[in-house]
């Protein structure tokens, strides 16, 4: 009973602000107010028809996917090496790879801006991708490392004994074992990248501006409820992805190892 009440309270604590955003998105007023004086689709329609929001939304989705993929390419080999250990400095390397968690994103952003400018590249998609990969790498590494450390090395050995070369063994044995960690890490990576603003603020250009930066710019100069409308669209998009994953593959199947203790 007490546990149930606690769950309801925690749920309300998390959901109530989101509910306010959802309600304000349908306001008929010209400014953000709650409760709303009336309901209308005007702000939803305005945002959906406005390239100033839709192009950054597409950029954010593309960037989130690219950052998750590139973080996976870096994190999976690193996680395997760290899980198998057996070399000096493994603990230090793990700490180094997780260190972006403690690095202020704004500092990283300024450093990237000056670094890429010196390389003659300036702000742009590559800079954004590098910045976001650095930021999301620890999330991917943690989840893959956790699965890799719990994996049974005998399975890979069995593949070798049965004649598989290292590449086939990796593709057909190791990768399926790591899949829950990779999918969970990719979800985290995508969501973190999708919401990231500090790096995107300095590294984005006209054509690569991300949704959080577009929202920030809009908020700085406008008081209309378009922000609530785009926030609602963003929430719907993320929930839709999670629902699609659940219906298509099953989140449990994707994110949890089949080997239960």
């Amino acid at each position: 009973m007490i546990r149930g009440a606690y769950v309801v309270l925690a749920g309300l604590f998390i959901l109530t602000p989101l509910m306010v955003v959802c309600v304000v998105a349908f306001t008929s007023a010209s400014f953000v107010s709650f409760p709303t004086p009336g309901f209308s689709l005007r702000w939803i329609i305005k945002v959906l028809a406005d390239p100033a929001f839709m192009r950054p939304l597409a950029n954010s989705v593309l960037l989130g996917l690219a950052a998750a993929v590139s973080a996976a390419f870096l994190a999976v080999p690193a996680a395997l090496a760290l899980a198998r250990g057996g070399f000096r400095g493994a603990a230090e390397i793990e700490a180094f790879l997780l260190s972006p968690l403690s690095l202020p994103a704004l500092i990283l952003s300024i450093a990237l801006l000056f670094y890429f400018s010196r390389l003659g590249m300036g702000a742009g998609f590559i800079g954004l991708l590098v910045g976001h990969t650095v930021i999301v790498l620890p999330y991917m590494l943690r989840t893959v490392l956790a699965v890799a450390r719990g994996a049974d090395p005998a399975l890979e050995e069995a593949a070798f004994v049965l004649g598989a070369d290292p590449w086939r063994s990796f593709l057909h044995v190791t990768l399926p074992i790591l899949r829950p960690g990779i999918v969970a890490g990719a979800l985290f990576a995508f969501l973190v990248s999708f919401d990231e603003v500090a790096v995107a603020l300095l590294m984005s250009t006209v054509s690569t501006m991300t949704l959080p930066v577009a929202i920030l710019n809009h908020v700085a100069n406008n008081y209309d409820p378009a922000i609530a409308a785009i926030s609602l669209i963003k929430i719907v998009l993320v929930v839709a992805v999670l629902v699609a994953l659940e219906l298509g593959f099953g989140l449990d199947r994707l994110m949890l190892s089949r080997r239960r203790p």
Partner: protein, 337 residues
Amino acid sequence: MALNRLLCLAALIASAPFAAAVAQDKIVVTSSGGVWLESAKANFAACFKERTGKEAEILLSASNEIMQKLRASPGKPPLDVVVLSETDAIRAGQEGLLEKITVEKVPNIKDVPEVFRKQWNDFATIQNFGAMIVMVNGEKVPNPPKDWKTLIDEVAAGKYGKRVSFPSLTMPWGPMFTWFLTTLYDGNEDMVFQKYKAMLPNIAKYWVSPVEALNMFAAKEIDILVYWDGRAYAFAEENKWAKAYIPEPGAFQSAAMLAKPKGAPDLAWQYVDCVLSPKAQLGHAQMVKYPIVNSTVVYPPALKAQLTPLERVRQPDFQVIIQKVPGWLDRWNREIR
């Protein structure tokens, strides 16, 4: 095989923006968002397109972000025309990041009075200006005080309850407002900070975000708000319960500074000239409801009534402000925040 396909896809995704960039034949300019962006598109970029046949891509960017980008690439700026805050424009000029505006490069500059350029040594010019004035809920405060000093004293005395919001010193134009208050108290900074402190118990919030401030006023959480004139008049026009007025003896001038970074192509001068052209300037004033700087522009009477006249505003001494800001911020954080 699957891995190979993934690698190819990732490479393709990463290279796509580069391919687009190579094909671009346009300049990149900055603007604030919302109505500012709409005006930049409708007035400035349209004029530029008409003159040159080329596009001006508009990047929404704040002054401090622009400064970081200019400092990161001196001589090879990623931005071709920028809009900066007054103090950032002075700093950028001093740091050699901007090119001087001359009548040969920008013919329309001849119609911009010197007062709009002098403090910036011609490295930047004001494109439009505004003033910080007072908004009141006319239903709750039918007879607001006529002058700033009375307003401040009455707020400190609690006459309006805790339903008042003034700008924070930490917001970008906070130092300018503080400078303006010092002019009301014979240059006495201590007095200004005493007043800030005396008002504190009756201030709902010293606002940092303009949107947050206007939302508080729109939601009727506060009855008095010190705010930008253009948006204040526009809001009052839409909401009859709201009034906006300039207390005596006027207000301080705040401005959007237009500049061309050093190293940007000469084509960018055409955009600067467009921004200062009479047609674009009038169109801009009509959209954003702020006064512009081209002296040949004649406002329609209805618009003129909504704009703060130049003689009602005082232009801050930005060199003084740049020197004072660190000390003021330190004092604000210790005594007021």
